[in-house]
Symmetry: C2
Subunit: 393 residues, 2 copies
């Protein structure tokens, strides 16, 4: 199986079944570059940030936005694991660095899985040894190795006019909320771009994609989004001239990945697109969209195919959007349900039937200004409860 | 069946089956006082406030904190119903006022039920006529008449040393979140207290009770908490001397009602008590407790009897409590799970068995100061999803 990740020049991906996941599936992956790559990173704002997040922040700073490798494991988050967790993470980075003959700060780490469990040092040592020895599949297996409760692989790619490629992969299904990035996301490009410029582009792209997605409103302890640029594509330099095209490509990859996360939300039966316009300003638009997209009452109504617009306006009323009901219009699946401060007549049975689709749109016009946004979420089903009541520590 | 509500001197309660609820159950209730009572009110902060909320706010102001009657219906929220909804609410108040020979601003209205539906003017007119004619049961039936998805009646009462009584009743099971009060709550007392003093006491009591409860994080469009004081108890005057006792009694009634709401949360199988101490200040304590108590991941873990403290610390890390993991201690059912920045060993099977109780406590010490709070919530079950996916508009 080939993956668009393997087509990005200057990078190599590997993955093995190291024995971290109880299921015995792929669980340890390595991305490495032939030469130091420009690297941008966005990390969780959760104050209980995991050991790998703490190390990566320091490493990226120390190494001035460059990296040679990223080691990723699923099955154990190495979060809230104290000094032991930090030391075990450092040992992993040191082992990869020794194998690639680079300084430890050129190696980034990402972990995802259960919070509060320690990495098994023997399992990690053996796994890293196998990866460094050249064992393991490529991009497609790497995509599997970073998954936890995900049911689908999440990959997106574009090619720029100058031939440079941008390919991204991410994981995330639960503990997903805007505030920075997704749980784990990696975007590789063989374009040539300076670290600072890459960081600026990544922040803007994340704000317009991963930060507008929610499954359950909980920002995880391990959220990390990394972009690495090898510069290995011939004529792949990003200049003032083609920066806009590069950014558009990066944004398209991030948006596609973010949408894949919402579609694959834990227990989700459908994607819910909350489109807000007419807001006073961007912050009001985001607050309105997020409040609707994160309301358990709205999300269970979507699961039940119930055109319950009352819960939508209730959520709007609790947002920071300064709702004025008389100026507000709410439509569901294209049907206007509330307008001019009053309910509109509609055929509830017909609309409910229409809601039994893999994608449902809630369109809100706040009637107050020109700001707009789109927020992606999913419905709230029995299976969300099942998955999260059964996912035992 | 007698209710402590009926024992409060100076008030009368009635309730009938008017035909508003599809089920045909009790759905229209009236509280009326023999003479104008001091009245305090706290209303939803939702910007899509319902017609009765808008009218009550104006009426209480116009009538300077006095009221003769409260008409309450369940089955229709009369929220987001535009000018038609306002006019129908006004007609109800006018009819009650005519029957009691008082000005319309002495009549308060409360509605609860589905948002966006209009009250049926004929059904309301007939119902009010029957109530004014003396038809209908007393306190016990009134308690039923205000219920929607509630599975239990919620009543609490105390008697002060001077013989004055305080009795409260409330409803609320879903769309419950702190921000002011519960959905609908009524506290009656035959103590003699000035409106301003009653309002001050009610606000303080609500902040320490109803505002520290959440079922699903959504503040409804109809939340209303009213306290009425008839002054009909002999020697029941509240002075500087016995104000503290009065406040303690009011607080006890409010706290009991709030706890009853959390216990009866939609689909709840258990009460979850989130106790935070060691916070830097009161706001930090509240933010920490609320974030834990509202996290769907924590709530589903409680349903699954899963001692998943990682989700608790993740929620704390997303709060405004400036979490410092190394100073934080987390205990579940009395067992310490996280301390000094590191996980503690525990018997997961034994603790899971202990969690199969009607009440579970999460104790958090933030290790940063002296502020503390207690937040009440419930677990998140299949039945929450079922109730809210099936509660069709």
């Amino acid at each position: 199986m080939t993956s668009p990740l393997d087509a990005v020049a200057g990078f190599h991906l590997r993955a093995i079944k190291a024995g971290i996941k109880v299921s015995g599936n792929w669980d340890l992956g390595l991305i490495y570059a032939d030469a130091p790559a420009a690297c941008a990173g966005i990390f969780t704002q959760n104050r209980a940030a995991a050991a790998p997040v703490l190390l990566d922040r320091a490493a990226l700073k120390k190494n001035r936005g460059r990296a040679r490798a990223v080691l990723v494991n699923a099955g154990c988050a190495n979060a809230c694991t104290g000094e032991t967790g930090m030391n075990r993470a450092r040992a992993c980075a040191a082992q990869v660095a020794a194998g690639l003959s680079c300084p430890p700060e050129a190696v980034l780490l990402c972990s995802t899985g259960i919070i509060g469990q320690q990495l098994d040092p023997r399992v990690m040592k053996d796994g890293i040894k196998r990866l460094l020895a050249g064992e393991g599949g490529a991009g497609a297996d790497f995509t599997q190795a970073i998954m936890t409760t995900d049911t689908r692989e999440k990959v997106a790619a574009v090619t720029l006019k100058n031939g440079a490629r941008i390919a991204g992969v991410c994981k995330g299904s639960g503990m997903i909320a805007p505030q920075m990035a997704t749980m784990l996301g990696f975007v590789l490009t063989d374009a040539k771009i300076a670290p600072q410029k890459l960081q600026t582009a990544l922040q803007a792209a994340a704000a317009a994609s991963f930060n507008l997605v929610s499954v359950d409103g909980d920002t995880s302890t391990n959220d990390t989004l990394l972009a690495l640029a090898s510069g290995a594509a011939r004529d792949g330099e990003i200049t003032g001239k083609n920066y806009a095209e590069f950014y558009a490509g990066l944004l398209a990859v991030c948006k596609s990945l973010a949408e894949q996360i919402a579609r694959d939300g834990e227990g989700a039966t459908k994607l819910v697109r909350v489109v807000v316009k007419g807001a006073k300003n961007a912050a009001a638009a985001r607050s309105a969209a997020r409040r609707v997209g994160e309301s358990p009452l709205v999300k269970t109504a979507m699961f039940g195919n119930d055109p319950n617009w009352g819960r939508i306006i209730c959520a709007l009323g609790n947002s920071d959007a300064h709702l004025a009901p008389e100026k507000t219009t709410i439509a569901l699946c294209g049907k206007t349900l509330f307008k001019n401060g009053a309910p509109q007549k509609f055929d509830a049975a017909a609309l409910s039937a229409k809601m039994k689709a893999p994608e449902v749109a809630i369109n809100i016009d706040l009637g107050q200004g020109a700001a707009a946004t789109e927020f992606l979420t999913c419905d709230f089903s029995y299976d969300y409860v099942k998955i999260n009541a059964d996912y035992h520590t």
